[in-house]
């Protein structure tokens, strides 16, 4: 769409406009440079920012002003007036313009009200934000298939950039490692949610299974079961709970949300009853977590001598296997087929029940695995350890761009969603915000992010 608006002739005919653009860019960049000198910014940074501003202005000029600055020509030919062109332009780029205006408005209001808000760092942030927005919106129109992944990636880049500008040590290796560590827990918990969402279902039992496996593993270790045997049993139990979820919710697919919630309640209650029997401390389980399990998930864990927690590698392997598997194996393709259209998948004699149940089994197993790893991370059993994951898994899956209606998305998308959520959390923590403010901003940010790419079509297009 945008490509059509770049006729080559414009550049040859209106090359003087490019010269004007160059001049404008030099003036703006020069102004920035002088301001920077006055504010005694480090010279390397100043040069970098000046060059960046210059390039940005040139690009915007060439991409927008030059192609549309043909007022003289058009009016002489009697075709649409300048106003009409401007309106046309505004209509085609309304999303971009509205969001730019909103950002500008916020920036101006903040500058006017908050003391010392109008400084160099904030201006640069503002410009970077605008540039990334323009870039994202324009380039994403070239994508057809994986637009949401691209936008998610750009959001990730934007937030990371802003985080590095504002927070000292945000882009340090240690911080990235800790972000990846927490992201890998969330990512592993999201494995099942993604698979289930691909079929159009939901699994809200994940947090309860995480908490239950966390407590029950420690309980079994406390009973003297070999840890690796205990973990195997836990994973099998997780798969069993998933199987139960799948079997029960198969006939009630519209109500999978609430059914899995019920199963989750039951699992959580049952686990606590079992672990409380014969114990004077109801709800608390004591035991010693083996060193290798701690190493698996601890921040200072090592993998074959490398200073990387093994859980990150586990997540990476799982992610690669899933991304590849969903695209290239029979199971993965059939999963998409079923999610897209049950009837036509049924004509291909794909067993809906089998795939549905298997997806839930994967979900249960991955939740149990997350619970096991979280035990290694925290070193103590706690039934509520999964609670943050109740809506977090859902948010990550949706934010990545996997449709909750099924058939669209994939684990690669979820990985992006998980990273976005994690970087956002780290950013808010780094800004020194309290938990409640984090949650508030988090809630407000989910909506526009999802609105960027997960909008459903209008009803009149569905008839």
């Amino acid at each position: 769409m945008i490509k059509e608006n770049f006729p080559a002739t414009i550049y040859t005919k209106l090359s003087s406009l490019q010269w004007v653009g160059l001049l404008v860019a030099i003036v703006i960049a020069g102004l920035g440079f002088i301001f920077g000198l006055l504010q005694k910014v480090v010279l390397q940074q100043l040069i970098f920012y000046t060059v960046a501003t210059f390039a940005l202005v040139i690009w915007i000029w060439n991409a927008y002003v030059a192609p549309h600055a043909k007022f003289g020509q058009d009016q002489s030919e009697g075709s649409p007036s300048g106003f009409a062109i401007a309106r046309d332009f505004a209509y085609r780029n309304k999303v971009l313009l509205i969001s730019l205006l909103i950002i500008l408005g916020i920036f101006l209001i903040a500058s006017a009200t908050v003391n010392e808000f109008f400084n160099w760092v904030n201006i640069v942030t503002f410009l970077v934000l605008c540039a990334l927005l323009v870039f994202t919106v324009q380039v994403s129109q070239l994508f057809v298939d994986n637009r949401s992944a691209f936008i998610g990636l750009m959001v990730l880049v934007t937030m990371f950039t802003i985080g590095s500008i504002f927070i000292e040590g945000f882009s340090s290796g240690q911080n990235i490692k800790s972000m990846l560590l927490f992201a890998s827990f969330l990512g592993l918990a999201c494995v099942g949610q993604t698979m289930v969402a691909l079929l159009g279902g939901l699994d809200l039992s994940i947090p309860f299974v995480i908490g239950a496996s966390n407590v029950f593993l420690l309980y079994m270790i406390g009973l003297g079961v070999y840890p690796w045997v205990a973990i195997l049993i836990i994973l099998l139990l997780g798969a069993f709970i998933g199987w139960l979820n799948g079997i029960l919710s198969f006939r009630l697919q519209g109500q999978a949300l609430i059914l899995t919630l019920g199963v989750g309640f039951a699992v959580s209650g049952l686990t606590q009853i079992v672990t409380s029997i014969g114990s004077a401390f109801a709800g608390n389980v004591f035991g010693v977590v083996p060193e290798w399990l701690k190493n698996l998930a601890a921040m200072n864990g090592t993998t074959f001598g490398l200073q990387i927690p093994p859980v990150i590698l586990i997540w990476a392997v799982v992610a690669i296997v899933l991304i590849y598997g969903l695209k290239n194996t029979v199971y993965g393709r059939f999963l998409y087929a079923l999610g897209g259209n049950r009837t036509s998948a049924g004509r291909l004699s794909i067993s809906e029940r089998r795939y549905w149940v298997i997806a839930y089994m994967v979900s249960g197993t991955s939740a149990a695995l997350t619970g096991v790893l979280l035990l290694g991370w925290s070193g103590g059993g706690f039934i509520g350890v999964g609670q943050p994951y109740l809506f977090m898994t859902l948010a990550a899956v949706v934010m990545g761009g996997t449709s909750l209606l099924g058939g669209q998305g994939g684990y690669g998308f979820t990985v992006i969603g998980v990273l976005v959520l994690q970087v956002l959390t780290s950013f808010l923590v780094g800004m020194g915000l309290k938990f409640e403010w984090q949650q508030f901003i988090f809630g407000l940010l989910i909506l526009p992010m999802v609105a960027l790419y997960a909008r459903s079509p209008h009803i009149r297009t569905q008839i």
């Binding site: 609430i258 919630l261 809506f391 909750l404 938990f435 909506l447 997960a454 459903s456």
Partner: protein, 534 residues
Amino acid sequence: MSDSSNSSTAAASSSSTYMLVPILLLFLLLIIAVLRSPNLISSAGIGSAVIVLTPLALATFSLMVLAMAGRGTVDLSVGPLMGFINVTLVVLSGSGALESPVAFFLYAAAVGVIYQLIVALIIIYVRVQPIIVALSGYLALSGINLVILPRPGGTAPEWMSSWGLGTTIFSPILLILVLATALWLIFTSTAFYGHLRLMGSDERAAYTSGVRITIVRLGAHIISGLFAALAALTYTALIGSGDPTQGTTYTLISVTALVLGGTSLSGGRGGVIGSLMGAVNLFLIGYVLATFNFGAVQGFVTDLAYGVILVLSLLLTVAIPWLQRRIPNISPTIVFVVLSIAFAGVILHAKYDYSQLAVEVINKTQVIEAPTSIPKDSLSDDASNAVATSTSSDQVARVTSSVDSQIEIPSVPDLTDKTEIAQSTAAGSLVMQDAIRENPVTKIVSTDFFFENKTYFGEADSALAKPIALGLLWAIVLLIVARATVLQTRLQKFSPRMIYIVFAALVVSIFMAWDNSVLPNAVKQPQASSKEAS
């Protein structure tokens, strides 16, 4: 589901079979609850149940409206929204900005409606899936609640403090609940309601048939916001202070209640009666479990029971089409009536004064085993407080206390035993009644529920409440049966609204009937006084 656009009259008879599950569960739980703890059926018992129940029921209504609107809407943010209104109300009234009840209501309603309007506009125009919007609202509101009020505190205004006592059935809370229910029932007769159901069950069909789905969705959200505001008000009355986190817990339990009430999360099917029953069911599950003593694992057992019952009731809805094929024309109304008659029997049985029976048993055994200890005639000599005789008072106390705790004594003795006792102690009870008649004891001071005056049933000078109440109960039953019959045969149109009006009139007349002044000759039973003394 198939029940898309039936008129409300037809819906009552055939297509509301889904109501069977909540009805059956309701009566099962009620019977267990009454047998385990008859105190539930008393003025204070029902009163406190209503107080606890109402916020949950209204939150469920709020969810129900949106669930009916389709698109898989589960408004997860209802709990935080309640918390938000609660917290801001307490803070505002604490600072003196909000004083009068009217301002309170208006403020709460405005917040609820505005929030839901914003949500609706986002859903309609930004076209994001409703569950995402709800999730977003959940996080944002539960965050801002903690900002406004970091920890539980503050107090509800003066005029609201008496609302949350729950000592009598008739309280403003009950009025709010009844009014909200009645308003919805009146709303069901409008065309808007039909549009709502049509849109919920098939949005495309609604759009193509000319329903203005934008307006309908906006309306659904406004109604939902109003219900949420009422829920927040009653919740504030319940806890009497501000709490930023407790409101959030209402999300999950009201979703559970919604499903227990038979509302379909896929849209188009639901009702206020079902949701009410779902909320009552959920309350009763907790109540029944509380009568068992699980010690430290009590909370876990509650979790387990919630989960299992939720799953089971969902699975039962799968069986309904099968049931419908087997038993054609099954009417939930008839089932309800039959079960309520059975339940009335259970109440009478459970509330029968076992302490008196037990005392008589004790007296009898004492007469048989140790005849010298207390002569039978001393009962009649002992004029006032006839039963609480000095010699057997400790046994009476033991028996009555065990009845109170409802655990040791078998609450359902064998029928044969009972008749035996009745025959063998007929003479004794006659003596007792004579003693009472000769010595008119104090008049009724407290406003007890009518079932508590049962020992004087059938006596000329006894309380009038029970016969009146029973008569009215039968009248209701007959009316409902008549209505169901008319609907089933479809001989003629019969306005369902009539039933509600008659029902309301009956409730009011029952209330008037047991006003103290109406019962001049009522006699306080000595049993009760001795129970209170012990």
